[in-house]
């Protein structure tokens, strides 16, 4: 409905016009704006604008006890919160010299891979929606929900599990959980052909995604791209294998790559990673029962816990790429500084801006989703 004071304006003299994607556009996750200048339907200029989301996590963390931050960090990335908890905990463990028990390490890997599965289902489900394939999106969201059920069972929370704590994890694995996780994996694996039929081998998708938002490996390295987006340009790099943490060096998995560097390749890498995550989880299910012992090392009373002075830079491979925490302690009961290096801070800003240039209007959403941009990681 037109407002009463609406007056028709004459068309501008050229074909150029500006368009705002977001901050509340269905094509974007979270409150994030992407402003593009178009000539006809071709992008001339693109600017990412993160100014709608700031919650000041890093500042907040400086005012909270070390342990209180465990409730805060998962909120930095809604779709993939577990790496945030683990990475923060790893940093404190490194500074404080805490020895995480073996069992806790395996439980952490289990959650990380569950979270990766959930995040990928969300990511390509979203991508499918950008090309009008809503069924894939609904399937993705529905199947992710089954993973969230297991998260709820394991951690007590569906999305923000708040389950990792410096020194280990907060609860042991419930009775029968591994069996239920195992059946879930069977189910998810059985779904993969359905997803392939409907989406990954669907020529509508393949043809639309091929060549869209393409970058070369050289460009990707220059722009600081990591994670599936980097692997989609053919570089076989994964923090889990190349800078291993927890027990990833004891696990058998492959690092899928593609060569296209485009929206298609990026989605296919994620699709292949689903299989690898299931593979890792099966190994965890097999090994975990034989790894006995505590789930957390002793930690001081959280209300009077001075982490020794020091600093640590810890990295994990999140579903979106390299996630890192730089944590500084001055020996106090709160962090002196926490810097969160979200993977999306590269591909949701500069890379997106560059890849959008010359693209067509209808592909912008595809580019954004194929990069799996998570705005809250950018705007912490």
């Amino acid at each position: 409905m037109r407002p009463e004071n609406y007056q028709a304006r004459s068309q501008p003299p050229s074909n150029e016009f500006e368009l705002n994607f977001g901050p509340n556009h269905p094509g974007i996750e979270g409150n994030y704006a992407f402003r593009v200048k178009l000539n006809g339907d071709q992008v001339l200029e693109a600017r990412a604008d993160a100014g709608y989301l700031h919650r000041g996590f890093e500042k907040l963390m400086e005012g909270r006890l070390w342990i209180q931050n465990i409730a805060l960090v998962p909120r930095i990335c809604v779709p993939d919160p577990v790496p945030m908890e683990v990475c923060y905990s790893l940093a404190i463990e490194e500074i404080g010299g805490l020895e995480v028990p073996e069992r806790a390490k395996w439980i952490r890997v289990m959650q990380l891979e569950m979270s990766r599965l959930a995040a990928h289902l969300f990511a390509f489900g979203g991508h499918a929606a950008t090309t009008g394939m809503y069924t894939t999106m609904f399937w993705g969201v529905a199947d992710r929900d089954l993973i969230l059920d297991r998260f709820e069972e394991l951690t007590g929370g569906r999305v923000y599990s708040i389950y990792n704590i410096p020194g280990g994890v907060r609860r042991d694995v419930p009775e029968g959980f591994l069996d239920r996780l195992s059946s879930l994996l069977d189910y998810l694996e059985s779904r993969l052909p359905d997803y392939d039929n409907l989406f990954f081998t669907n020529q509508v998708f393949v043809k639309r995604a091929r060549g869209v938002g393409a970058m070369t490996q050289e460009q990707a390295l220059k722009w600081g791209v990591t994670g599936p987006n980097l692997r989609a340009t053919g570089l076989e790099f994964d923090v889990r294998r190349d800078d291993p943490y927890l027990v990833y060096d004891q696990l058998d998995f492959e690092i899928p790559t593609e060569s296209g560097g485009d929206a298609l390749a990026r989605n296919l890498v994620r699709r292949a990673e689903l299989k690898q995550s299931i593979r890792i989880l099966r190994q965890v299910i097999e090994r975990l029962p034989s790894i006995e012992g505590p789930i957390r090392c002793p930690i001081p009373n959280p209300l009077a816990w001075n982490v020794p002075a020091g600093e640590a830079y810890t990295r994990v491979e999140s579903s979106k790429g390299e996630l890192a925490y730089y944590v500084v302690s001055t020996g106090g009961d709160k962090p002196y500084r926490v810097h969160v290096r979200g993977p999306s801070s590269m591909h949701a800003v500069q890379v997106l801006e560059k890849l959008a240039l010359g693209a067509r209007l209808e592909d912008i959403a595809q580019i954004m989703f194929s990069l799996d941009a998570c705005p809250p990681e950018v705007d912490r």
């Binding site: 990412a48 604008d49 993160a50 100014g51 700031h54 000041g56 890093e58 500042k59 907040l60 005012g63 006890l65 390295l221 220059k222 722009w223 600081g224 990591t226 570089l235 790099f237 190349d242 800078d243 209300l303 830079y313 990295r315 390299e322 890192a324 730089y326 500084v328 009961d333 002196y336 500084r337 810097h339 290096r341 801070s345 590269m346 800003v349 500069q350 950018v378 705007d379």
Partner: protein
């Protein structure tokens, strides 16, 4: 791999004065370097030692020392190791050189640090506001900015007064300690 790393790091660092390095683990090296030598160090690391990936630039406000610490985390895909190069610059005027020419991802981090700490990076492609679009206060990550005080000044807490509380107050009970009174 790590043995090689030692040898060439020694070679490399021999060229630079006023530098200390400390191996923290097999894949983590901390380097402390004067601010005048940092760009040269990074150039060496990137050009001669394959540290092509700038993982992050972190800034720490050492307000009591009147300094900012800048930490450049660079990763080598070949040697699979991460060097964190630490340098300090005076808090005032808080100006430093951009390393955008060496590492393009620096643009994001420098812009972020500029916005959050007020450090200006000369030669950085874009020092425009990004996250705090409508903010005209001090750079909030500086230690002197008290975000909790700001919040308390500008926002109201929800004032609840449910029936159960009224009943308790009638019996002589009621609120004794509000959460804001006991923050550790």
């Amino acid at each position: 791999m790590s043995k090689d790393l030692n040898i060439w790091l020694d070679d490399l660092l021999g060229d630079i004065e006023n530098i200390q390095f400390k191996r923290k683990s097999s894949r983590r090296v901390r380097v402390d370097v004067g601010s005048e030598a940092l760009p040269a160090l990074l150039e060496l690391l990137q050009g001669r030692a394959s540290y092509v990936h700038l993982s992050a630039i972190s800034c720490v406000d050492w307000i009591e020392d009147e300094e900012f610490e800048l930490v450049y985390h660079v990763w080598s895909y070949e040697t699979r190791s991460l060097v964190s190069a630490h340098t300090r610059i005076p808090r005032e005027p808080g100006v430093y050189l951009s390393i955008y020419d060496l590492y393009q991802p620096a643009a994001f981090f420098e812009r972020d640090i500029h916005e959050m700490f007020g450090v200006f990076f000369e030669g950085s492609p874009d020092m425009e506001k990004f996250i705090l679009t409508e903010w005209d206060g001090p750079p909030p990550m500086r230690k002197e900015f008290d975000s909790e005080a700001f919040v308390n000044q500008h926002f109201e807490w929800e004032q609840y007064h449910p029936q159960w509380l009224k009943d308790l107050e009638e019996e002589g009970g009621g609120v004794t300690t509000r959460p804001e009174d006991i923050r550790l």
